[in-house]
Symmetry: C2
Subunit: 379 residues, 2 copies
């Protein structure tokens, strides 16, 4: 018999909560997991078969780590691409492929890719310096995004008028037209090496304005089927154009006139898919494993309405994390706690999530609101 998933070693770059939840699924397939992360207390530390504390952006560290695995994947985009390219050259399987990660690492290149492939997206301009910003044709206010290394709301700012430019990032950036959107939505698509593709049902996101982080996620969306289908087609088009192997999360805006505009991509399990663990027949983590091991993709249908609440560190709390209101939360039916194994909390740090599953959508949203006000990560 050929080598199968239970014989293989999966190397994961990054040992945070995404890696942790990926390992929770990998256990079911007897998969051997290796994790590289710079944090000695990374959430994956005790779960991986092998944990290495080291830089995921350093060529030698990533290359030597990758040599130990059969298949290499990521849980964060900011990794050393050159090492992954070298590993691919030497015959290792890297999924998503290094060229996909390279493209997505740079929001400027990502936007150009959208343009070249007729993917609807907000009008944009690439700028390298504040000087170039000053000469931009874009009307205020606009959104300024650093091309590299932005995540969890970092590397993004709103430029209201010319004076703001003096405080703007002085690095290669992307100017983007402010979109008057009604809602942010996401579709996660999986594609295996055979080219089979499946999308998860479209979900709706609600943001915490202060932290610029997803606070609530509601699945499935109640937008008209036509719009949902359109979003799924866009996601599949991007996955095909990229020729990606693995998961691809596609975040989009629904504009006030019902148009869809692609905002950003993530070539991996994503915050907008956490509710799939309990809310859908297959979870995004299981699906990612199926995709990268070229196995049949699972059934993405929703089992029930699901609302996901990100559990963010409370403001003004820094230190060893405590979970206030845990018992009250657990007393509610259909509630699933996911703590990420992070010892220390800080304001807006992603410490865990909670998913509420309920046959009745209103009731799911009500429970989620109650939990949002009840469960607090303090120090």
């Amino acid at each position: 018999m050929a080598k199968q998933i239970s014989d293989l070693k999966l190397g994961i770059l990054g040992g945070g909560q995404l890696g942790r939840m990926l390992i929770q699924e990998a256990i079911n397939y007897n998969l051997t997991t290796l994790v590289l992360d710079p944090d000695t207390d990374a959430p994956c530390k005790h779960l991986a078969n092998y944990f290495e504390c080291g830089s995921i952006t350093d060529f030698d560290t990533v290359y030597n780590f990758g040599k130990k695995a059969d298949i290499i994947t990521i849980e964060i985009e900011k990794v050393n691409i050159e090492a992954l390219e070298q590993l691919e050259k030497e015959g290792k399987q890297v999924f998503p492929q290094s060229r996909v990660i390279r493209l997505i690492q740079d929001k400027g290149v990502q936007k150009q890719f959208f343009k070249e492939n007729n993917i609807p997206t907000a009008p944009f301009q690439l700028v390298n310096t504040r000087e170039e910003m000053r000469h931009s044709r874009f009307a205020f206010p606009y959104i300024l995004k650093q091309r590299r290394d932005g995540y969890d709301g970092k590397g993004v700012m709103k430029i209201n008028h010319a004076a703001d430019i003096e405080q703007a990032f002085d690095a290669p950036c992307l100017i983007e037209e402010m979109i008057d959107f009604e809602k942010e939505i996401a579709v996660i698509v999986a594609r295996n090496a055979n080219g089979d593709m499946k999308t998860f049902p479209m979900v709706e996101m609600e943001f915490n304005a202060e932290a610029n982080l997803v606070e609530f996620l509601i699945s499935p969306s109640t937008y008209p089927e036509a719009l949902q289908n359109k979003a799924e087609v866009i996601a599949k088009n991007i996955a095909s154009s990229l020729n990606i192997t693995g998961l691809l999360a596609v975040e989009m805006f629904v504009t006030r006139n019902g148009e869809l505009l692609v905002n950003e991509l993530a070539p991996r399990p994503h915050n907008s898919g956490h509710q799939t663990i309990e809310g859908n027949y297959v979870s995004q983590f299981d699906q990612h494993l199926r995709a990268i091991f070229n196995l049949p993709l699972g059934d993405t249908r929703s089992i029930s309405n699901a609302v996901m609440i990100n559990l963010l560190g409370e403001k003004n709390h820094n230190g060893v994390a405590k979970y206030q209101g845990l018992e009250k939360t657990m007393a509610i039916d259909g509630v699933y706690i996911h703590l990420y194994g992070k010892k220390y909390t800080k304001p807006f740090r992603k410490m865990g999530h909670v998913t509420v599953v309920d046959q009745n959508r209103e009731s799911a949203v009500q429970k989620a609101n109650y939990i949002k006000n009840t469960l607090k990560v303090i120090s």
Copy 2:
């Protein structure tokens, strides 16, 4: 704030598949897990925060291990009770309590407990020697069970006539009247320290006659509600009478005239509850944690029809395990693979399980039959 689940250390005696699935849930609560198991390759080895290779029946080993934990639980009954008693005396929480494990370890004492508490069970007689068997008033054929250390079909035999006694166990045994049963069923009940109790819906088991092991498990049962309620009441009565903290699996026979007779107890997560992971709102593993940490018990309702197939090592195969038919199995919608991380297979060894979830019961059973014939553990 008082110490909470995420601050505590759970010691688990036994590091097999039940411990493994318990840890998969414990991850979600940031629970620190410590495992003691004599097998250097135990399924829990790489998942526990701390793994100790040692005997779970040796006083010193269990006692010293237990001292490192805040709460101690078991995944197998054959453990050193005296060490657990000593740990309880010194203030450690042991759930299920040592006296419950002691009672259940001995099938003779278990049967006497049923009798004393008016729990319906098959007529029985305790015998210490073959000589006593020869003088038993029980008519042939009858069932002979060793009072101690039987598991997975071991320690049980059918005595068809007097001549069989010469080959019988020569140890303290239990003679039990042969029950002409229609079906074996099980109810799992959870009880926390507050005395809150919840039962999972009754499930039906189908046995592999050759191995005397559960092959199929169907949830929920389609027996009349009255019978199901009766089974749940019996399970709750036993849990209350035992004053147990934790899970209790109650296996029963449904006789041809619709009577319920309790067969055996297991004070822990149990094979008859594996389908709860995907088939019910709360899983038996989550529920066990909730019970032993005195947290609110979860919603035990079924989400869907679920059929669980035990994945047993094929006959005539001994050696490093291979999973034939895995891809074909994964191509079916609503199928969940759970491999137990055991490197070596042998005939009838429990190597994993598969759960099929389907809104249509017939379809779930059909898929399960297909999987039973498709997915094989070979060497």
